[in-house]
Amino acid sequence: MSDALSPFRICDFTGQLAGAGATKWLAAFGAEVIRIEDPVMQGRWDILRGNPPFKDERRGIDLGGAFNNHNVEKYGITLNLRTDKAKEMLAGIIAQSDVVTENFAAGVLEKWGFGFDAMKAIKPDIIYVSNCGFGHTGPYKSFRTWGPIVQAVSGLTFSSGLPGREPAGWGYSYMDHTGGYYMAMAIMLALLHRQRSGEGQWVDLACTEAATTLNGPALLDWSVNGRAMRSTPFNSNRAQFNKMAPHGIYPCRGDDDWIAIACRDDQDWAALEGVIDAPWCAQFATQDSRLAGEDRLDEQIAAWTGGFDKFELQARLRALPIPVAAVQKPAERIDGDPATGNFGLWPTVQQTAMGAVRVDGQPVHMSETDWRANRGGPCLGEHNVEIFGRLLGMSADEVDRLQQEGVI
């Protein structure tokens, strides 16, 4: 199990989610991912290290819940790259790595003397994958981003919202998650290319470009028909492509409880109408009438759903069946929904400082080489002795001395 990627070693400078999420996937499938962190800044180039959420009353650089979540199964070492000795040690690690990953602002690695050419000199077939907001070329290459900024610039914030209001955007870093997915794809594509050709390369991933591809049909509607979303009011809860109505999120009884309902066609509507069983339904018998009167239809549906408990209504509409789902709160989808638990989606890892803690697993299962999640995110420098010993042949005493000298 978990040996799909075990031949590969990743020298990993990534942080936050956009980078760390990528190497989390690789580590889950057995790659040896070695996080390089800065001992002087206590690893804080990853701002999640030491930040909330915390499991208990303890606070500290090794206790950040998000950091742990994104760094399961990785190794952690420290290198003070202000020193020549640490640079020499880094070169020794790169010489034995398949991939170097980072999501700094453009040019940071180069400033340290580890640009792509320098790394190629150390390891001719090295794969280098950089992930930054605007990429390493172009007028905005020095601009800084994190998830919400990528979402803003790429059109994803704008395209999420209700009509007549400011954008609702995304209540989480959709593009840190997704930028990480594209980074993982890029790393694996480059590894496949190297398996076939023996050749490494530098992959320049611009998170804003990956994000912009996610509104493809809107871009074609613009480039072909000149239709701008800016001047076309929309409600993003409604159906965008194949026409469906009703298609929305409606209130239920209870505290901030909601339900999503979609009728794909007249058959779905007839089934729903049978449950609603009210005279007003008659005016909405056809798809055209439902689409033409969608605002009124939504008001009627909302007035009706408001009397139900969301899970009770979900059960009734599933029985028809039509597309329906309660808007699930975290507790409901994590502990209350047997489908996620049965899938094994929330593994418990052992993190050296935090103890046992649950994390996001992977939403796939592979019959021959499935993922693993046992060891939590590394404490700062947790694997210095093991990694420097194994890769650079250093003794524990030597590692201890380097730590006292401020090299690691």
Partner: protein, 410 residues
């Protein structure tokens, strides 16, 4: 040559997985789209070329099926099943989103197909996974998103408004990202083992692990985030980050200034554009600029001075935004080292000078329409094995003769 050139993918047409097939085709894979003789329903989705419905004119279908070939096959007939087996014998990947028992009922599940083609990587993308009966209930992007978590995190401060699902089938996209990552992982593993495998992708699970703090706050200490206008859902309500600019467009102020250097640059910028007078909180910006060492961010809201400095930072950004266009606010802040973003609509980013300079738009020839169409380009740039749209999306059954030459001869 590009990286997946020698990989053949059989895709059983479904709107849920078409994006995964596109990701593979655009990296060079030979993706054969199997459609019913009536065509995949998404061929009938708007928007249309020139707003005129018709064969080969759905921009939705054109986008999600670039680079693929199309064959028609009726899997409910013995002949269709035989052809499908023939194709599988030549394939590396089967990508499908059928009902959980359908392929098994036809004798075409992984157990049988893996015997025909031991190297086959069979990816099944279903709402809740292959072992879950709920997967066979009807679902749309909206209902999968609701079940999987995103809408709970998205919407407005005013909780009398419904949670919001983002535009454009992003739930399908997320599942497709995992399908593609799984295929790449299995291809790397196959290099050593020579063997394929079966991959079970749960769409709702994919969304569950793509909600950041929504999940990990609960997992770590059982706290629940609340949705907030245009910014991260959080356990507590936080300060707004979306600001209205002088041209009625919005910008996202992102992480407000939080280092002394950032406060210093912000203060300098305000001086430069003559906004320090008339901004009483400027004194706190100065304090922030002169702060000794990093701020203890956990003290925001508790320590009066730190709180005042951070509030002044947010206020200053709002004040500047009200005086300039969203674009000038974006570039001005970025030039001052602040991570701020203009909230573009999709077509605005498509025409932005940075994206144009990087060649993000690509032209695809549509000989049948007598024109080239500009498409969104590469999500990643692999210079040695580049992303490319090799050809327009196929007409229905366009490649029947090419893929089944014997059938054509019969």
């Amino acid at each position: 040559m590009t990286v997946l050139n020698d990989i053949r993918v059989i895709e059983l047409a479904s709107e849920r997985i078409s994006f995964a097939g596109k990701l593979m085709a655009d990296m060079g894979a030979d993706v054969i789209l199997i459609e019913p003789v009536t065509g995949d329903p998404s061929r009938q989705y708007p928007p249309w070329v020139d707003d005129e419905p018709g064969e080969g004119r759905s921009l939705y279908f054109l986008h999600y099926n670039t680079g693929k070939r199309s064959v028609t096959l009726d899997l409910d007939t013995l002949e269709g099943q035989a052809r499908f087996r023939q194709l599988i014998a030549t394939a590396d990947v089967l990508l499908e989103s059928e009902a959980t028992t359908r392929l098994g009922d036809l004798g075409l599940d992984y157990d049988s197909l893996g015997k025909i083609q031991p190297g086959l990587i069979h990816v099944a993308v279903t709402p809740y996974g292959r072992n879950e009966p709920l997967s066979d209930l009807p679902a749309t992007d909206l209902t999968l998103m609701a079940a999987g978590g995103p809408p709970w995190n998205c919407g407005y401060d005013d909780h009398s408004l419904p949670p919001v699902r983002g535009w454009g089938n992003q739930g399908y996209h997320t599942a497709c990202h995992f399908a593609f990552m799984s295929v790449l992982t299995a291809l790397l593993a196959r290099h050593a083992s020579g063997r394929g495998q079966f991959i079970d992708v749960s769409m709702v699970a994919a969304l569950n692990v793509t909600t950041e703090a929504g999940s990990y706050n609960y997992l770590v200490n059982q706290s629940t985030v609340q949705r907030q206008t245009g910014r991260h859902a959080a356990v507590q309500m936080t300060g707004e980050t979306q600001v209205l600019c002088a041209d009625s467009r919005y910008a996202n102020t992102g992480v407000p200034p939080r280092t002394p250097a950032e406060f210093a640059r912000l203060y300098a910028w305000m001086q430069e554009i003559g906004m320090v007078e008339g901004f009483p909180e400027a004194v706190f910006l100065e304090m922030g600029a002169n702060w000794d060492g990093p701020f203890d961010l956990s003290q925001i809201g508790t320590d009066d001075t730190i709180t005042a400095i951070f509030m002044a930072g947010r206020e200053a950004l709002k004040r500047i935004a009200s005086q300039v266009s969203a674009y000038d606010f974006f570039t001005g802040c970025q030039n001052a080292g602040l991570s701020v973003g203009v909230i573009y609509s999709p077509e605005e980013v498509f025409e932005d000078p940075h994206f144009k300079a990087r060649g993000f738009q690509v032209e695809v020839e549509h000989e049948d329409l007598g024109r080239a169409i500009r498409y969104p380009g590469a999500p990643y740039r692999l210079p040695a094995s580049p992303w490319a749209i090799s050809r327009r999306a196929p007409r229905l059954g366009e490649h029947n003769d090419e893929v089944f030459p014997q059938a054509a001869a019969d």
